[in-house]
């Protein structure tokens, strides 16, 4: 069903392939998406009449990431650490202030609208909010047709047929074509968003908290749907979410962000079972679970309470950004920024940015707790 492949000219240009920054997982195949040193700073102004620039929000501050064709990279991290900004940079809804974005082997960092046209179709975004991201005055059919009309794409058999096909793919009834978004529940609306994102046969979908607003049952439906689409259509995902259990379920690799930086990245099992960065430990320990009777042998999990406040992205701490809240911080942490590297004992592709990493735990639950913070 992907045979339409509308944009032959955007096929990866192998000859321009480069090793990038060297932080990539070292796979043979060229990544579909490659971010190097990507940066987005927002100016902050103060003063009502005479606006002065009072500082800059270092929303995304030099990150390296790769996403391979057909895989899901989960992106998690503190609220405000720059996940949505990263997603919007990738979808080219924001202009980066530094670094580069390569897609299919081609530098699109500052590509013009015209240059982006063919790629725009291939990179789609699903937004968190199923309420405000659909135009209430358009029918479902109109919403899903939209991207085809804007991009002047005529699928074989016509746009209407394609829309009905898409409705079926996402598990909606083609009879819903002429209904309006307010007649649908949150979960159904989210599927409309998915159908719209699929309209142009994307190769990469940036999904910014696509299931956060949904109840667990509908969340399960949508996650199963995305998983099936990935399997059947080979779509790659940059999957941003807060729910670590959902991320674990849907991602092959996971990156953890803190204050504009990637602090740890690894394949799923390695990250959840052998986290090395203290912040990853803290995150995993804070997941609220239903378990009234904990699983045999594991005992109740202790939550690491992070001391202190979230530092400001306007003036991030020197050295390691996590140091103001880290129970292992030492002088070196303030003086030197820890590089994102593979630590001894870690699997290939498991990178951590920490001077004094935690021991690789056998199980994600064996969280090392500093008694001083209890």
């Amino acid at each position: 069903m992907k045979e339409t492949g509308p944009m032959e000219e955007t096929a990866p240009e192998r000859d321009t392939a480069q090793a990038g920054t060297g932080s990539a997982a070292g796979r043979a195949a060229e990544p579909l998406l490659e971010l190097s040193g990507l940066e987005k700073h927002f100016p902050i102004t103060s003063g009502l009449v005479f606006k002065r620039q009072a500082g800059r929000v270092h929303a995304v501050d030099g990150i390296d990431l790769t996403v391979h064709a057909g895989e899901t990279l989960g992106l998690v991290g503190e609220s405000g650490c720059g996940k949505s900004t990263t997603g919007r940079l990738v979808a080219r809804l924001l202009e980066p202030t530094g670094g580069s974005i390569r897609y299919g082997g081609r530098d699109i960092t500052h590509a013009s609208r015209r240059e982006l046209r063919p790629i725009r179709a291939e990179i789609q975004m699903i937004f968190q909010d199923p309420y405000s991201s659909l135009n209430p005055r358009h029918t479902v059919g109109g919403i899903i047709r939209g991207p085809m009309e804007i991009n002047g794409i005529d699928p074989p058999g016509g746009r209407d047929r394609r829309v009905r096909e898409l409705l079926e793919i996402v598990g909606l009834n083609p009879e819903h074509y002429n209904r309006f978004p307010h007649e649908f529940s949150g979960g159904q609306r989210q599927r409309i968003g998915v159908a719209r994102a699929l309209a142009l046969d994307p190769r990469l979908i940036v999904a910014d908290e696509p299931v956060s607003a949904l109840d667990v049952s509908i969340q399960a439906q949508v996650v199963n749907l995305l998983q099936r689409l990935q399997r059947e259509l080979g779509i790659a995902f940059l999957f941003i979410a807060h729910d670590l259990a959902v991320v674990r379920h849907f991602s092959q690799r996971v990156a953890v962000m803190y204050l504009g930086k990637i602090v740890e990245i690894a394949d799923r099992d390695s990250l959840y079972e052998r986290p090395r960065h203290p912040y990853t430990h803290a995150l995993l320990s804070a997941v609220p679970e239903v378990g009234l009777e904990s699983a045999p042998g594991t005992g109740p999990r202790e939550r690491i309470r992070l001391a202190g406040d979230v530092p400001s992205p306007i003036a991030p701490p020197s050295g390691c950004r996590f140091r103001t809240r880290c129970w292992k911080a030492q002088e070196k942490c303030a003086a030197e920024e820890p590089p994102l590297v593979r630590l001894e004992g870690n699997r290939e592709g498991h990178l951590t940015a920490c001077h004094f990493p935690e021991a690789p735990t056998v199980h994600g639950r064996d969280v090392v707790l500093d008694p001083a913070l209890a």
């Binding site: 927002f42 902050i44 103060s46 009072a54 500082g55 998690v76 991290g77 503190e78 609220s79 405000g80 949505s84 968190q128 909010d129 309420y131 405000s132 529940s185 949150g186 979960g187 908290e209 956060s212 607003a213 949904l214 109840d215 667990v216 049952s217 509908i218 969340q219 399960a220 996650v223 199963n224 998983q227 807060h242 729910d243 670590l244 259990a245 959902v246 674990r248 379920h249 799923r268 803290a282 995150l283 804070a286 997941v287 609220p288 679970e289 239903v290 378990g291 009234l292 009777e293 699983a295 939550r303 309470r305 992070l306 406040d309 979230v310 530092p311 400001s312 992205p313 306007i314 994600g364």
Partner: protein
């Protein structure tokens, strides 16, 4: 027993639409005592937010028809004059809204919006209101609050906006706080921080809290009692231990089974409740869950279709399902054994 601080009896909320009457809330009763938290969970569209808005008198009387009884501290709120409701909102009862972007005005700074609520209820000066706004932003963990108090909502991340909303709801130390998905937009460490904050507030001021959430883990960790809603009705109610440890209603089982868990195998697809959410215009007859339920056959021939099960008893652990208690316990036992439900 005396009436609880907030007592809702037999609440119905109907919306008259072109397609027909939407029965968004259909005979709901609940009670919350001071100093306790009631967790409300349930399907999207089951009437959780509509109930919350009814308590705060925020429905448009033109389109929403309410009946039943809502007593806050012994005072009837249904049909109360607007001026009374305005005084109650913010000071006595406050709400954290589900969608922070549409409930914050894009045209005013965050600090101004928080300060305004404070000024309206306390008559404080502008300067005092601004100080209070900074204090509240600090309490909800916004870094550099003095600088960011003058930001507009679009300059905040999703989670920061949510925290600003929380600051606004808490600015007058309300007696009743309704938190509608307060932490959905937040990462787990900030979520834990906010839940701690709500707990501290509760300890200090004895606030009664209604916590609406789809995260059963959050409920397990913060609520005292739980109410499970389906199609505008309460289908199960009890303490956290009762409802999550000994769930009795098939819909509650469905919720627990569809949850992704950190320890679960990843190659098995998640298990949503089968079928589609019910129409609220033509609500299924009898038990509204029957078209999606796996057990009507065990309840007796035709019973689930014909007769609406009532929530029983009036206090303590109760559920609205025709199955016998022994049958429910047997089924839960099997589901736990198959590890479809973890408790």
């Amino acid at each position: 027993m005396s009436t609880p601080f907030l007592s809702v009896q037999d609440l119905t909320v109907d919306f008259h639409t072109e397609d027909g009457v939407v029965h968004a809330v259909d005979g709901l009763s609940l009670g919350v005592e001071k100093g306790t938290t009631l967790g409300v969970v349930g399907e999207s569209g089951s009437g959780k937010s509509v109930t919350a808005l009814a308590v705060l008198g925020l429905h448009n009387p033109e389109t929403a028809k309410l009946s039943g009884e809502i007593l806050l501290d012994g005072r009837e709120l249904i049909g109360a004059p607007r001026s009374v409701m305005e005084r109650i909102r913010g000071a006595k009862a406050a709400m954290i809204f589900q969608d922070p972007l549409t409930s914050l005005s894009p045209y005013h700074t965050i600090g101004k919006q928080i300060g305004e609520v404070f000024r309206r209820h306390t008559g404080a000066s502008r300067a005092a209101a601004r100080d209070r706004a900074v204090e509240m932003l600090t309490r909800v963990g916004i870094p550099q609050p003095k600088l960011r108090v003058d930001d507009y909502p679009h300059q905040f991340s999703g989670g920061m906006r949510q925290r600003a909303m929380i600051a606004m709801a808490l600015v007058c130390d309300p007696d009743l706080l309704i938190a509608d998905e307060p932490t959905t937009a937040l990462d787990v460490t900030v979520q834990a921080q906010i839940l701690d904050l709500l707990r501290d507030l509760q300890e200090q001021t004895g606030t009664a809290i209604i916590l609406i959430t789809h995260d059963l883990g959050v409920v397990a960790n913060t609520a005292h009692e739980v109410l499970v809603m389906y199609a505008g009705r309460a289908v199960e109610r009890g303490t956290v231990r009762e409802v999550l440890g000994e769930p009795h209603h098939p819909y509650t089982w469905g919720l627990l089974a569809s949850m992704p868990r950190l320890g679960a195998p990843v190659d098995v697809p998640l298990r949503p409740v089968r079928g589609a959410p019910p129409s609220l215009i033509n609500v299924p007859s009898g038990c509204p869950f029957h078209p999606r339920c796996d057990y009507p056959a065990l309840a007796g021939p035709g019973l689930c279709r014909a007769e609406r099960p009532e929530l029983s008893p009036h206090r303590g652990h109760g559920d609205a399902c025709h199955l016998t208690l022994a049958r429910k316990q047997e089924i839960v036992g099997t589901l736990v054994q198959k590890r479809e439900i973890v408790r």
